[in-house]
């Protein structure tokens, strides 16, 4: 067993142990995983050398599944059991899904909650389907790096709300991934471009994917990526154009697609024709339907006419973001294009005309998000040089609470830099009232009915007082992943009010636990092994971090304080060499408690040093 070594001052305690961290782009149409290797970010290929994994899962029965290209092969014959574009359903109820009657699935409606998909293996949550895709990418990572995956950064559309972000996190948890951070797709793309080109100034990222559209403005300076404003539409993308083209072709042929098979077949054919029209002026939309084949010639001008309303919607969102940021289109020094749908010439032309400059397309629009995520993952794992990269992102939608008459009171405005916290005081309106309910919503409209319900909170345990005497301070906090948490405290008595969270569109912790129990993607013995391995990794990480902290800032501690921390760290290492993951977790917890004050002192020192260094530069 390696005992904890305390290095002498001046000696580096970190033996340049590189940690493996990956970035995953969990996309509507396809997903990728990338990692920084030998200083360069690159996408990891599958056995056939393909980096793209189609975001498709087919349930074959008897617990067997096909994922990716294999699943796509059968999508026209077995559409009910072949789930594609599942990202559109994450954190969404059935009523939220526009054009659901045109989709070939058997939806299960959970009014007020996330929809389900009935397959031959029973009902599947979109979270479980996404977890299958993530698990396939984790598998790919393990084949490349072995079992030592330190952590993962997963990208989400900037415009994803809290429920969609939470659903993504739950999927990662089910897939056995340790999430370091969720980052926004346009921000990831900017990282990939910015570090590539050493760019400075104001940049726009136009990200038109299969199912979502994002527009973000970022200011780049000396490794700091500051998101200035973000906007978009989480239900607008290339899929909509496939649907429009499919409907047009059916109308031309005087036909209808009624069965799930026909619906899928014509969508697949429309997609192929659309892709052909990227490079060719004409194509033919061909597919076999139940009532005979259709064969419809289509020109690029037809596709562009069908695309025009969609492109116009994206341009309106771009103008709105420019207004939000109080900048003009010619203040923007570069426009980065992301997402397969930006390959369409009409999109590039429209965006170029709005900004008065040709968009940047030198990185592969399919890969750029995963590459940026990998760079950020590498930095978060502590592998990059200090101060190399810092991401300052914003909350995409305002957060508010429901007040009298169904009105929204804004608590945190959109485009506020995260992490952010905001406190609001409430009082009781009845004598002896011990509980109160809060409804948190997300959105820009004034009426609760027009916003998205995030969660309902119940505060209990308020000490009984006369009406209006209690002062309950509720603190809303949005962390660096863009996720909300709420804490409440009665000010006069100091009582912490207990909070029950009922996520409106998410899975409850119990549901996630049940899915894990049901042996998603791994048997129970696997789960125990995994828990032990995770605890050990965490123990080693903490012991190492503690050692490094003692070397760097040990002078902030008295001798006895220092000895106490060393003793706790030794206990962590001792526990980590055993096989009891509960014992390891207990030792970790003890070390965490014992280093709380030390961590706070180190932060204070770091803050002081930051400005001291800054002022020298300013002079």
């Amino acid at each position: 067993m390696a005992l904890l070594q305390i290095s002498e001052p001046g000696q580096s305690p970190d033996p340049h142990q590189r940690r493996v961290a990956v970035g995953i782009d969990l996309g509507t149409t396809h997903s990728l995983v990338a990692a920084v290797r030998h200083g360069v970010a690159e996408c990891l290929p599958d056995h056939a050398g393909r980096v793209i994994l189609p975001s498709a899962v087919r349930y074959l029965g008897a617990g067997r599944r096909q994922i990716g290209f294999d699943a796509l092969v059968a999508q026209a014959e077995d559409p009910e059991n072949t789930i594609v574009s599942v990202k559109r359903f994450m954190g969404r109820s059935l009523a939220d899904i526009a054009g659901r009657e045109k989709l070939p699935y058997h939806f299960v409606d959970h009014p007020g909650g996330m929809l389900g998909l009935a397959t031959r293996e029973g009902e599947k949550s979109p979270v479980e389907v996404s977890a299958e895709i993530l698990a396939a990418l984790r598998q790919r990572t393990q084949e490349t790096f072995g079992d030592d995956l330190f952590g993962t950064v997963i990208t989400v559309p900037a415009y994803f709300d809290d429920a969609q972000r939470q659903a993504t996190k739950d999927a990662a948890k089910l897939a056995g991934l340790n999430i370091l951070r969720l980052i926004n797709e346009p921000t990831a793309a900017a990282i990939a471009y910015g570090l590539e080109n050493g760019s400075e100034g104001l940049y726009a990222v136009y990200d038109l994917g299969g199912g979502t559209f994002d527009i973000s403005l970022l200011r780049l300076s000396q490794g700091v990526f500051e998101v200035v404003a973000t906007g978009g539409d989480s239900a607008l993308g290339g899929d909509d154009l496939d649907r429009a083209l499919a409907e047009w072709a059916l109308a031309q042929a005087g036909r209808e697609a009624r069965s799930a098979q026909d619906k899928r077949a014509v969508l697949v054919a429309a997609r192929q024709a659309k892709e052909e029209l990227t490079t060719q002026p004409r194509a033919t939309l061909r597919c076999a339907l139940a009532g005979g084949a259709i064969d419809v010639p289509v020109g690029r001008e037809t596709l562009e006419a069908l695309a025009r309303p969609l492109i116009d919607r994206t341009l309106a969102a771009v103008r709105k973001v420019l207004r939000d940021a109080k900048v003009r289109s010619d203040d923007v020094q570069g426009v980065v294009m992301v997402g397969g749908a930006t390959r369409m010439p009409a999109v590039g032309e429209a965006v170029g005309a709005l900004f008065g400059r040709d968009p940047l397309i030198n990185l592969n629009p399919d890969e750029v998000v995963a590459l940026g995520a990998a760079i950020q993952a590498n930095a978060l794992a502590g592998n990059s040089k200090e101060g190399e990269l810092l991401l300052l992102d914003v909350i995409p939608l305002s957060l508010g609470i429901e007040t009298m008459g169904g009105l929204v009171e804004r608590i945190i405005e959109r485009n506020t830099t995260i992490p952010v916290a905001q406190a609001q005081d409430f009082t009781t309106f009845k004598d002896g009232q011990t509980a109160m309910a809060l409804h948190v919503v997300q959105g820009e409209r004034d009426l609760v009915a027009d916003c998205r319900s995030l969660a309902r909170f119940e505060l209990r345990g308020i000490p009984p007082m006369v009406a209006g005497a209690a002062r309950i301070r509720v603190t809303f906090q949005v962390d660096a992943d863009g996720m909300l948490s709420v804490a409440a405290r009665e000010q006069t008595s100091g009582v912490e009010a207990a909070i029950t969270v009922k996520p409106s569109y998410g899975l409850s912790d119990d549901q996630v636990a049940r899915m894990l129990q049901e042996g998603f993607a791994c048997a129970e013995s696997d789960m125990r092994t995994r828990a032990l391995r995770e605890s050990r990794v965490e123990a080693e990480r903490l012991a190492l971090a503690t050692r490094a902290a003692l070397v760097a800032d040990g002078d902030l501690l008295s001798d006895s304080e220092r000895k106490a921390i060393v003793a706790l760290a030794v206990q962590v290492e001792a526990a980590a060499s055993g096989n009891d993951h509960h014992a390891i977790d207990a030792a970790i917890e003890a070390l965490a408690r014992g280093t709380e004050a030390f961590a706070a002192r180190r932060m204070n020192r770091g803050i002081r040093a930051a400005l001291a260094g800054r002022k020298v530069e300013e002079v």
Binding site: L392, T417, D479, E596, N604, I607, A610, G613
Partner: protein, 172 residues
């Protein structure tokens, strides 16, 4: 310096209304560079919690410092005269008259050009009121007058937002 320091102490700036935005932005980024939770992703829970607290505090201060009205209200509060938001009792009659005239002008403005002209007028007024506010705070240290001026400016800013909404509606 600690979590209870004032915004000005945190950014190591004099507690004045006039402020150099470029310096503020640079210091904000330097502070976040030291405090952001991403810097501590590879460390234990205590370091991450401390980082989160500081990062939140720095962003809170930055939001207040970069907005002239919030900064002025904060200075008034630090000097013992908190600004009561939305209280129009103390507003002079001439100011309220002006408000009513603007509201009427917005109602009758039929096209984009008319709304834009009103927007320009309001913006000019806002700037001159901010100049007056700077004098009240930095030269006279007249906190009561400054607090009243902040209240008046809140009305102007809210009206400017209504104009923006109208422009947005007209532009689509």
């Amino acid at each position: 310096m600690n979590l209870a320091s004032t915004d000005f102490e945190l950014f190591d700036m004099l507690p004045r209304f006039a402020l150099d935005r470029a310096t503020l932005d640079a210091r904000w980024k330097a502070l976040q560079g030291a405090a952001h939770p991403d810097r501590f992703a590879a460390e234990g829970a205590p370091a991450q919690r401390a980082a989160m607290q500081w990062a939140v505090r720095i962003n809170e201060a930055y939001q207040r410092m970069k907005d002239p009205l919030k900064r002025a209200a904060y200075l008034c509060k630090l000097n013992g005269v908190p600004v009561e938001a939305g209280d129009n009792q103390a507003m002079p009659a001439s100011f309220l008259m002006q408000q009513m005239q603007w509201r009427e002008a917005l109602e009758v403005a039929g096209d984009e050009a008319a709304v834009k002209a009103l927007a320009d007028e309001v913006e000019t007024r806002r700037r001159s009121m901010l100049d007056e506010l700077a004098v009240l705070i930095d030269e006279r240290a007249d906190w009561r007058a400054a607090a009243r001026q902040v209240q008046a400016l809140m009305f102007v800013v809210r009206f400017a937002e209504d104009i923006d909404r109208r422009l947005e509606a007209l532009g689509q």
